[in-house]
Symmetry: C2
Subunit: 296 residues, 2 copies
């Protein structure tokens, strides 16, 4: 019943993000052929074997030369270099889009390169993912009922924007548009800060040395849920931390102030302020939209 | 096939912790009658209606006078007052135990009271729970394959200790014994600190005011998993923060140092140190024993 949105799409980086997008597009029958490429040849072969992509390369040129849309799903730190290689072989008037978790630097570097190559660029970022990575982790439901943020600029071609929006809707996401600065600030708060905290927590607890045993072995479900995101890919998060530096530092500082306030209340034994602090947090947390079904 | 360990057990505080213990003991057929009491009469009635306890009160005296073992599963801040009331009506030579998340203060105050009343006290703490509370949240599998820490002192009666240990084994837990100070330090690290961080994170993000919308609405699964524990009971956590003050402040300070180090590396754009920081954390997190099956 679905109509084909574009004939040929090419996914550069067929890991969790790119691979799941490919699977979901094929499942929705809105593309005809999915080409793929990955700097990791093992991962590329796996993606082809798993049926995530229809054709792997055989070269980056082959993977993108016939594409109507090319999606870059590579670490933020590799975006610019990969975009340069890809743009050199893309058709004039075709669309380049990405899934980078930071938008100001990515859009700022990719948009001018695309314009030079007569390619239409649309910045994007799906708000979903797991701590796993690689083609083996991809699954077609990843984007179902999630949000995808697109970050058009005054230079963005409206037809290209509409096509990229239709692709994300086809994989089950709600598309929200905002400018790159707002995107980076919001993501610093709801995603980048929590990751920095989780990594710091695991390191601070695992370095606890008062006792010979590994105290992480005493952790229960709460700790495991809380620190799951500390199992995320270190390269990806190094790149995000570096490219969203300013917003992230602002949020870390804001968090530090709240934690310092709490610490002071604990130190003073201020029962009333502690109760209020915990209660306000519980109210905000309980009010998060679309709670996970397993939370009842 | 199971043998009855004690005839009458009384659960004071029939919420998630006490209620789940009652359900699991009845399921294991290791007790004959479960008496129950709760300061919240609605919750007590619900526990009786749900079959969690066999007999509710009708008074605290009735609930404990025939008990061979009384389990206190009330907030840490209420332990001492509740123990006083309970001990006044317990049989000589019977056993009092508890589930308090902090042991130094609880054992320090309950043990002398029990000795005065000729009751045998054993401090305990099951390392399990969810962010939910109340009798309606109780389920018999809560303690399955979890750890329960018992904190005997030189005054602890060895027969009483063995009985409490058998009860926890009967509900599926592995019993570990350690002194109260070690317990409180380990719990500060793996449980109390993560809760303080989660509460602080939710408050700092929900107070973000650069944009009119509630940015928590943009949060995805990672944020929800990460902050689930911020939905925990504020009274319970106020009491824990106050009673495990010293160990908790030590752990918050240690965490602050790690976060400050990370912040500095972000500020300086130190790629190598950032990668190492994230990678070390991932290695520690991935190595946590007994991973949750849903993590694959």
């Amino acid at each position: 019943m679905s109509d084909v949105i574009v004939k040929n799409i090419s996914i550069i980086g067929v890991g969790l993000i790119g691979g799941s997008f490919a699977l979901a597009l094929k499942n929705a029958k809105v593309v005809e052929t999915v080409f793929g490429w990955d700097a990791n040849h093992e991962n590329l072969t796996l993606a082809e074997q798993l049926g995530i992509i229809d054709r792997a390369g055989p070269s980056l040129t082959d993977a993108v030369k016939d594409a109507d849309v090319v999606l870059l799903a590579v670490p933020v730190g590799s975006m610019q270099a990969v975009a340069r290689s890809v743009l050199a072989h893309m058709k004039s008037g075709s669309i380049l889009t990405d899934t980078g978790s930071v938008k100001q630097t990515v859009v700022g570097s990719l948009e001018p390169l695309a314009i030079e190559s007569d390619v239409l660029f649309v910045g994007g970022h799906p708000i979903s993912g797991t701590e796993r990575s690689g083609a083996a982790a991809a699954f077609k439901e990843l984007y179902q009922d999630k949000r995808c943020i697109l970050t058009p600029t005054p230079n963005t071609n409206s037809t290209a924007l509409a096509i990229v929006e239709r692709l994300w809707c086809a994989v089950g996401s709600e598309v929200v548009k905002m400018d790159v600065v707002k995107h980076d600030r919001i993501l610093a708060a709801i995603s980048h800060l929590p990751h920095m905290i989780a990594y710091s927590l695991v390191n601070s607890v695992s370095c606890y040395d008062r006792y010979p045993e590994n105290i992480l072995d005493f952790s229960a479900g709460g700790f495991r849920d809380f620190t799951r995101i500390a199992s995320s890919d270190p390269v990806m998060w190094r790149d995000i931390a570096l490219t969203n530096r300013e917003s992230l530092l602002e949020m870390i500082t804001q968090f530090e102030q709240f934690l310092a306030e709490l610490k002071q209340d604990i130190d003073r034994g201020d029962m009333e302020r502690l109760f209020t602090f915990f209660q306000q947090s519980k109210i905000s947390r309980d009010a998060i939209l679309h709670p996970d079904p397993k939370e009842h």
